[in-house]
Point group: D2
Chain length 342, copies 4
């Protein structure tokens, strides 16, 4: 399979490129830069790849991309993808899009949370939201790959929401993220002297992954009216931990909670539900989402802890899962399971 | 004033010693080691003090301590203080105790959460819980200095609980702590290769500061039945952030919430309530507890963020506040306000 | 190929196990624990592997290991391997040993630096020192895999020493290491609250890799009498940087220095010599040793910077290189080249 | 004493401001911003000071500064101070300058290393280089406060250079610095996702503190022709470690080396020479420079380790030492000795 990748210089693109290189069915990876006019060596654009990275990044050109590839990945920023993806949609050319531009079905919702113009309604309708454990790409040609916070949070909430085990208005999500989620762009909040030895909340109640989470949650359980969702930047490079709190419905037992998780994920290759609460480190470098829960009989609260590598399960890894579905490959093909440790 | 300090070799004791050295009313600091039989140079017991630390640590002896000092601080572990403090209580000698041994009024509660024998009921009755912003030591001779998590959490909840602004069964506390809270004792969870780049939950629903928080909350507002309380170890040395969530009572406005915090702390020297959510770094090295809040009109949730330096406001600094109250000194005497930055 | 691994629970063993799992020629990996008496699940012995690690660790038994495997890896500690390896040596069974027990040819040298009894002289004579870029295992049956500091330092010094470009008594090596080099064993120097925000020198002039480096350097250039070698523990989990200083011989030019490095490593798969000084991060997760140099015409000093992932190129990765040589496999088989980034 | 501080918003200025607040002889601190046109609240310019920082930063005006203050501190960048300091020099008004603009006596040297126009020769001649342990400000009115790397390195080399104990062309300095030395300015090298888990060399053989070190070293010992000096950025916020290597002169003993350090610093309040090599953490937050040495009889090399807090002893703390000298105050007045620990 020949694959195109637009946007290899961002953190998400870098990691996706590495994953594609390890994929057994991918024979060719062609790199394109949205704002480039001439070829540029990858080793120059991303020095951290080292001098052994001899690939070239080519200028972005729709016709060239379609002619030379079977599928295109967009690892471009929100607001950029929707400006360049139209010809692919029109042509029915396979696209896997890591940006947030086609995840929300309502243009007004997108514009409210992203503060940018939305893609056309018809394109939004055609896009498939690729939360890999809950659906199949099928014949869809445009996959909107879920956001990192959304992935960690939805996988932690799915068994509760789908099985109607919690009080719908009681969900609180305290999500913690490493700095790679904020990308390469320099900012005061990610300046080492400020980030190190610090904890910083940001975008409280305003994170753009909130509507994406709500859209999916309500598809599962329309009674859920809203969630409380905060994000805290931690002095770690990679990973997200979503700590999820909810009151269980009267009569719900700890055993029912555990059973719901076990049943939901019994056939999932990349979601592991264990007897202990997971730590962040056990998923770094992998496509796993690790889950654990604890029920508190005093407060009738269930605490679910969900950890992922934001750049793999929360981005490029899930994109590969969607690629595998789209082309009928083995579900686990090309996906990393070896944790970075220590 | 002549002061005794038992337990200078732990992190809490080290920092308290530094604070005592800077206190204008303290003329003498005598160090004692609970398990020592001969004098030991401080520079040897705590190399990080450097060779200029020429003080000696003396063997622990009740009569000597009483004869040579006006007050004794215990920076010993839970379970140790209650074994050695009885003669001081009997004599009515002033004690400020940083351990958890005399914070809880019910021996059974102590034994349930600490898994150790409790102090006698009479001694527990006589002890004063020294949450510095909410009371005065007065004529009490035995001050139980609050725990670090309890301090951050109670200061964040006080205006809400006292003014009856929240639904009593809706409180969720997601507390994050640096590693110094776990002390000098070596453990896998604080081994650098494991702690670094990691987030680890521990003692979920089982942290021994939970009953201390509940005891005080119910004194303020008996309707509060319980709280959900989790603790996450973060790769930072110093500091605690308590992120507190609660549903407000119907009709409560954002303005009322802000007003409650402003009123509660208008005369507090060391609690700062600001317009933005605080970051952890802005209190490291100080005795401040910084607070901020955000009201979410969609979920009717109020999020309160409370940050402290666990070893100062959460331990030695608050102990100094209690010293100042006990001896009628200026409330801010000897307390650090200069943040470590960057 | 069927492989045995003794000592999977240490950091070196964990990473070697992951590498063996990715090796295309390895069909079976059997785990053995030196001090175990019954089977133990890997997921229990090393929780960070996660619940998907279903392998078992078996009790150590020489006959079983020989019967069931084609080669055995020892990831056991110095002093342990020499106690258990004798039967394998006697039988001519293939061994790759990651400990320091068979690296030094002189028993007295081993005993001086390791403070333990040395292996017998005959066994030391038979062992092959497997610095992968400088030799071939050939018919040797016992490979002593080089130490991490030795690997980084020797690869940086080889072109200078072999080509006689530097004043032999002028070598200074300032090596920096992350904490994983110190292993899982708890220690004050690797307690997070002490390691974090700190730099700590240790074993100055006394590190046990010094004699190993000298033995190889003198094989290349007998005029080198000694090196100055310090080690500093840095608040990073993985990686070693060796910063190497030496005075060049009169008349040596920058061009000659560069040419020596380029020539030496022109056919090396895993040593990359670049135009800029490498940073540590560019090799984490890979088997690369990245090198760069700068010549100072004012001081006539050449500075060489050598970076490796201590657990891969400095341990398990080089062990795989030696496996590949031993069994005539492709030199790069099973070796990781994808950097962990960001 | 009334003091003016120009440049409080940089890291150096922030810390100097805190030190001045703690100085017993300083009754007034007036803040000025070089590029400001109206008053600005300090809490707004430097949010990390918190809302309790009620001071104002005033626009920069020479006449106002002279009229309202007894001394002015410049915590402005190199290239800025020399543009604004002339009127103060002309008036003989006391200045303590933390920039590098007046440290070098030769304009050509400044221009070569700083890539900016130098101050006039007469002004350079009049400036006093304030390495606090080696001289007295006396009647000088313009103090050029030494650089951070220069301070750590010169204090480590002084006993060796002054007593002629080392081979003059053999000095190698491997200096490591935390990120605060690079200031608040955003840069890729200090972006958390790049700095964390990394070691990065920068400005090898080109750091602007090299000529300052050489100027002072040659004043002590004209035989020293040059030094090899590298700088490595480490994932730590505060502190510098200079590891210094040199060959001793034939016949020099370890005892002579130790004696030279002990004699040199026997009356120094802020240089501590100890029996063990210091770690970085033991000086953070203090004005101490801690030194240790080890002699290697095999290589005839002496290794000196020198650690400082770059923002205190390497900047604001030494500025206070110079203030104390200039105004005849107690040498230790206002200087912090309490280490940040853990």
């Amino acid at each position: 399979m020949k694959t195109a990748l637009v946007g290899v210089t961002g953190y998400g693109g870098m990691v996706l490129y590495q994953l594609l290189q390890q994929h057994p069915a991918v024979t060719e990876i062609n790199l394109y830069g949205h704002s480039q006019t001439t070829d540029q060596p990858l080793s120059e654009a991303v020095p951290m790849f080292g001098i052994s990275a001899t690939a070239m990044i080519h200028p972005y050109d729709v016709a060239t991309i379609m002619a030379a590839n079977d599928v295109v990945f967009f690892a471009t920023s929100a607001g950029v993808t929707s400006q360049v993806a139209a010809p692919f949609i029109a042509a029915g050319f396979p696209v896997i899009d890591l940006s947030g531009d086609y995840r929300l079905k309502q243009p007004a919702t997108y514009e409210k949370w992203y503060h940018k113009p939305a893609a056309p309604q018809a394109a939004l309708d055609a896009a498939y939201y690729g939360l890999a454990e809950f659906g199949q790409v099928g014949s869809a040609k445009y996959v909107a790959n879920p956001g990192c916070y959304a992935t960690a949070t939805l996988l932690g909430l799915a068994p509760l929401a789908q099985n109607d085990l919690i009080q719908p208005d009681s969900i609180v999500v305290d999500a913690k993220s490493g700095t790679s989620g904020a990308g390469k762009k320099l900012a005061t909040s990610t300046h080492f002297s400020q980030t190190n030895e610090n904890l910083q909340l940001y975008k409280v109640d305003q994170h753009q992954h909130i509507p994406e989470i709500m859209q999916q949650l309500q598809a599962w359980n329309p009674e859920i009216p809203a969630i409380e969702f905060t994000t805290t930047l931690i002095p770690v490079t990679r990973g997200i931990m979503s700590t999820i709190y909810a009151k269980v419905k009267p009569g719900t037992t700890a055993e029912q909670l555990v059973a719901a998780f076990e049943t939901t994920y019994q056939h999932a290759d990349f979601v592991r539900f264990g007897a202990t609460l997971p730590m962040l480190k056990q998923v770094q470098g992998t496509n796993f989402c690790d889950l654990g829960l604890q029920y508190n009989p005093v407060t009738h609260n269930v605490t679910v802890v969900s950890v992922i590598d934001n750049l793999i399960k929360g981005a490029g890894g899930q994109a590969i899962q969607n690629l595998n579905q789209m082309f009928g490959l083995d579900a686990a093909a090309g996906l990393p399971t070896h944790v970075i440790m220590p």
